[in-house]
C-alpha cells in the first residue's frame, strides 16, 4: 500500500510540472492575438511597453481561463476584451510615434563636449550639477540620459558618438551621488533633430543632452 502511495506521489510530482494550463490556440483568442500583433508591428513594445505588456498578460490569462471549460465565461470575455482594448491603445500610442508619447523631458542646456569626443568640458559642470540637484530633489524618478548630435558626419558615427556622450553624462551623475539604478543612457545620433541642420544655430540646438523621465 505504501509503495503504491509513493508511486502515485512521484508520478504526480512529475506530471504537475508540465500539465497544460493554457490554450493559446483557441479561436476565442483570435481577435486578441491580432490586436496584439498589430500593436507590436506598430512598435508598441518600445513606444508603449506597459500597455502592450498588460495586453499580452491579459491574453495569457485568458488563454488559461479558457482551459477551465466555461467555468467563468463572463470572466473570460472580460479578460479577452481587456487584452484587445489595451493592445489597441498601445497601437494608437505607438502610431503617434515614440517622441510624442507623454514623456517628460528635462532639458540640460549647457552640456559641452570636446570635438568628436565624449569628454565633458569644464563649462558643463554648472548644468550637470543642476541636473544632480534635480534628481536628488525628485528622488522617485528614473531617467534616461539621451544624447543627440547634428547631422554632420555619418549616421553610424553620430550614433556611436551620441551613445558615448550619453554614457559620459550618466557617469558624471553617478559619480556625484545619483544611484545608477535610476539611470540609463542612450544615444539617438542625428535621428531626432529639434531644428534645421542647414544653419550653424540649428546644428548647435540639435547637439544636445536631455533627461527623459521613464516612470
Amino acid at each position: 500500500m505504501i509503495k503504491r502511495i509513493l508511486i502515485a506521489a512521484a508520478a504526480t510530482l512529475t506530471l504537475s510540472a508540465c500539465a497544460p494550463h493554457m490554450n493559446m490556440n483557441s479561436s476565442e483568442l483570435d481577435d486578441a492575438r491580432k490586436a496584439i500583433a498589430d500593436a507590436k508591428a506598430a512598435g508598441a513594445e518600445t513606444c508603449a511597453p506597459k500597455l502592450q505588456a498588460e495586453a499580452v498578460a491579459y491574453y495569457y490569462w485568458a488563454a488559461h481561463e479558457i482551459t477551465e471549460d466555461d467555468v467563468h465565461p463572463d470572466e473570460n470575455a472580460h479578460l479577452i476584451d481587456t487584452a484587445i482594448s489595451k493592445a489597441n491603445e498601445a497601437r494608437t500610442l505607438a502610431k503617434k510615434g515614440c517622441n510624442k508619447v507623454n514623456v517628460e523631458i528635462i532639458k540640460m542646456e549647457g552640456v559641452y563636449f570636446d570635438n568628436n569626443s565624449a569628454t565633458l568640458r569644464p563649462a558643463s559642470v554648472a548644468t550637470l550639477d543642476k541636473a544632480v540637484a534635480t534628481l536628488n530633489r525628485r528622488a522617485s524618478i528614473n531617467v534616461e540620459v539621451a544624447a543627440h548630435t547634428d547631422s554632420s558626419g555619418s549616421d553610424t558615427y553620430n550614433l556611436a558618438l551620441s551613445e558615448r556622450r550619453a554614457a559620459s553624462v550618466k557617469d558624471y551623475l553617478v559619480a556625484h551621488g545619483i544611484d545608477a539604478s535610476r539611470l540609463s543612457s542612450r544615444g539617438y545620433g542625428e535621428t531626432q533633430p529639434v531644428a534645421s541642420n542647414t544653419s550653424t544655430e540649428g546644428r548647435a540646438k540639435n547637439r544636445r543632452v536631455e533627461l527623459r523621465v521613464m516612470n
Binding site: 498578460a57 539604478s181 521613464m214
Partner: protein, 84 residues
C-alpha cells in the same frame, strides 16, 4: 529492490522540473519586482504583470496555473535583463 530503483529514477527525473517548487509564488514574485526595479522595458512590465496574475491565481487556489505563470514571469524577467 526494483521498485526502489524505479521510484528513485522517477523522483530524480521530476526534480529539475520542480526546481523552485519550495519557494512560494509570492517570494518569486517579490524577487522579480526587486530585480526589475527601475526597469521600464516591455519585458520587465510583462514579467511584473504575469507575477501579479500568478499571485491572483494562487489566491484562487489554482496552484498549477500560478506555477506556470510565475515561471513565464521569470523568463520575461530574464529577457528584461534585471535592474536598469
Amino acid at each position: 529492490m526494483r521498485i526502489i530503483f524505479m521510484l528513485t529514477a522517477l523522483v530524480a527525473f521530476a526534480m529539475p522540473a520542480q526546481a523552485k517548487a519550495f519557494d512560494s509564488i509570492e517570494d518569486r514574485g517579490d524577487k522579480i519586482t526587486a530585480d526589475l526595479q527601475g526597469n521600464d522595458s516591455y519585458h520587465a512590465h510583462l514579467a511584473r504583470e504575469l507575477a501579479s496574475i500568478a499571485s491572483i491565481e494562487k489566491g484562487q487556489h489554482d496552484l498549477g496555473a500560478a506555477k506556470v505563470l510565475i515561471k513565464m514571469a521569470e523568463q520575461e524577467a530574464a529577457k528584461a535583463g534585471g535592474t536598469k
